[in-house]
Symmetry: D2
């Protein structure tokens, strides 16, 4: 009896490592994501204001981040929580992109929003939408890269199958992202599964990154996890930063402040050298 | 440290038991769902043909089922699996409704499909979409009942918060459904959490039903689980049936055949008497 | 890849249903446990004093309980928590047995304690010791029944394998007990897995009971879960009771008081009639 | 409601970081385990013969391992699986210790075996015995170091509480070991929780190591996980090796062969330099 292993290997034939001779390297406005590279994606959980997003973008760019993240449409457990600045948030991200030259990534929550994401360089599918198959098909019709986060209760095989939905719909530019799974452990927000990063790279030719911020939910774990993420062979990382974590409108407890981020970047640069990776 | 309990109780204030004097009883074309009732919802995983859905509908109606279920849009792990008959499937369900008089329920996968669900009596939000917040808001604008299934990795509190999204968007007719959570146990498809049924009824005024078919994934568990579901106090049940399970296009291994279903109904009717419930 | 299913079915050949023509019915001082019976085992988490254990034993006997439980050696997460009355606790249980005629069950924590359990009718192996294989072998050399609780993270197959250890060591009198598994849900202490009760009975000839008290950890869930446990076909139940739950030295929040227990017994007796079981 | 967080922080006061000014460094026959060091413990799952254990011990010593592991008493899910060479296995380990000078570690399964472990330098408590409290108390009376593995379903707090049992019983020399927890993911044997390594070091002064072999259950994951383990700040690592993995009596699929181990050691030595750790 093996309920979780139902999908046969050949079912994710387009994203399977066997499908190509090489590892896929995706180019996002000149930034490479894939084998041999370790781009750092960073920025706030939510875009909150022009001042906030510009200040963060400039600081992380100086520190070495290659891509700016920022939430505009926010999936929140409670309807009474801040739902993001929405379209206005995307405009502020675009502004930060023009100011800094950093490509931008933001989460899409449903296919009717696609038109708003024209200036967004990477469209993110969040963990809760990993098996929103209509959304996967919709972003499969785009030309731009899609970052696909693993669901909280989804197996490695299911993540590959969801990536297959996007690629089979016509978009080969998928980046996989491990961000922690839900387990019985309650001292962390989720349990980061670094074995998944390794297995995803063994089984698929797609780039694989990890997100220590959502996995841990605790600021003091982010830097050590980031080092572990690079050491196991991930192709990049996504880290939440904020210019004022104590007053962040969401996820402040897991966000690095700008100085902490820059300190971490210095450390990661030394490590990237050892790994032979371009950071 | 208590990451799962972040949402405060008052955050689901509209669905909270404290919000009303009574338990909510929802009327679906004359069928009551709520305290004092135990309607049985049944039908195939997928609508496959006119013959199939009519045969099943007539048989289960004769057995005592009150509502017909049937999947038209199917969320499937693999893009290469049967994705459902879609709009045509909904038409066949409508046909079965006219033939038998049974109200119908079917799963919606995204808000653009709402127009197709006009003749559908209960709109189902599947487990994978429990935190598809835009879809929750969209069905919150409907007048018809919504069946909200618990996600595979979602807590009881998160289910209540998702129900709150629908109610806060204007639709008070929400039915909660426990359908098993994902655990380490691999002998069953999921682990049915009957404590959740009890707690949901203690904490909320909404009707609570359970789905033993998806929880177990094994036909031989469905009847004993159905008895357990009634005994713990659920307000109804949803059971997959098929006129030819061995050749079902999806989930055949967990579907009862029509005779098994009718045998189970006879048993449940005796038990409903003991419980003082109208089945 | 299927790590949990490594043990082959034939590895639990002695406890397998295929091993015998019948279901095993175990006799404990005249009380039958097995197919056709539904004995209720009850008593305090910990034996605390002569007054306490005698008062509880008399009350639950009057209510219809058939076996008295009481912890003497207590496995506690913290070394600074009450560790049980130990040998003295067993003596008080024996006293209650003489006063009421109820057979007694208590948990053994290591094999050096076996001598102290001479007057104990059923030796309990707790969840944390389900894979303490040396202890399993040791109780396998006894003649008296052993109640084997499922571990918090143990599969159904592993529970059967642990039972096989005891039977293969010479003791065929094993009672299996589902008591909840550890999942991500934090509103209950554990998640009661009633599918496991059904599967254990399908796969093994051994009696299978369930413990709603430890599973739920919340008093208000115990009665509804007890009804569910009987309805799915369990061969008995173990329920914690206390004459003063608010001041219990352990697990007071999940213990029924004596009146609640007797009310539940009245309900269970009616249900046993419907099930055709001797309670 | 927070069932997992019941134990108060002060309950593990002796192992808490607040209890001492420094990190504890344990000396095992000249080998240091604790902050600033990264000893590699290696050897076979089971001692199988003199030839096997000597060959492995010599090879891993040459490669840079500092401590030899070898199972003599084996906790096996099935009573029909190889249960280890037992006392004879310990004698062969002692022989390998005399031949190579490597300190040895082996798992104890119950307190009656303590006399046999006189020549064993570190006594290991396996994952299944993490809450075998009588065994914890028993090894708490020893003077030699104890390696305490995290249980498959035990929280970080529970691991600290179990360590507290040992320290409170008089033995301060406890080494904590993360070895993977049980989750829904079935592609790996367990899910290695590297956040736990970081949190254990933040919360306790005890040394913390990790075991990638049991966590992953797959040979190809061991080397990348080992790098991750060092990068997050662990104080050491335990890796299974075998001179002939294809014919190992247990856990061959997760064992490195001797050449793979030595290749990994070369890589780890470079990394230890970057970390400023003595390997």
């Amino acid at each position: 009896m093996a309920f979780f292993t139902e999908p046969k290997t050949e079912r994710y034939r387009m994203v399977s490592r066997a499908a190509t001779g090489n590892s896929t390297v995706i180019d996002v406005g000149g930034v490479k994501i894939g084998e041999g590279y370790f781009p750092v994606i960073s920025g706030p959980c939510s875009v909150e204001s022009e001042e906030q997003v510009i200040a963060i973008a400039k600081s992380i760019k100086a520190g070495g981040a290659k891509i700016l993240r920022g939430g505009a449409f926010k999936p929140r457990t409670s309807p009474y929580d801040f739902q993001g600045m929405q379209a206005e948030g995307l405009e502020l991200l675009s502004l930060a992109k023009r100011e800094t030259g950093l490509p931008i990534i933001s989460e899409i929550m449903n296919q009717s929003q696609i038109g708003l994401f024209e200036d967004v360089d990477i469209v993110q599918i969040g963990a809760r939408n990993m098996q929103n198959f209509d959304l996967l098909k919709a972003v499969g019709s785009l030309k731009k890269p899609v970052l696909l986060k693993r669901g909280l209760a989804n197996t490695i095989e299911e993540l590959l199958m969801s990536a297959e939905y996007i690629v089979a719909s016509g978009n080969p530019n998928v980046i996989l992202c491990e961000r922690g799974i839900r387990t019985f452990e309650s001292m962390t927000r989720n349990t980061l599964d670094l074995s998944a990063v390794i297995l995803l790279k063994q089984k698929s030719h797609l780039p694989v990154i990890a997100d220590p911020s959502h996995a841990a939910g605790i600021r003091s774990l982010v830097a050590p996890l980031a080092k572990g993420i690079m050491a196991v062979g991930a192709d990049g990382i996504m880290i939440e930063t904020h210019n004022n974590p104590a007053n962040a409108l969401c996820d402040g407890a897991q966000s690095l402040d700008l100085e902490q981020f820059n300190d971490l970047m210095k450390d990661l640069k030394k490590r990237a050298e050892l790994e032979g990776k371009e950071i």
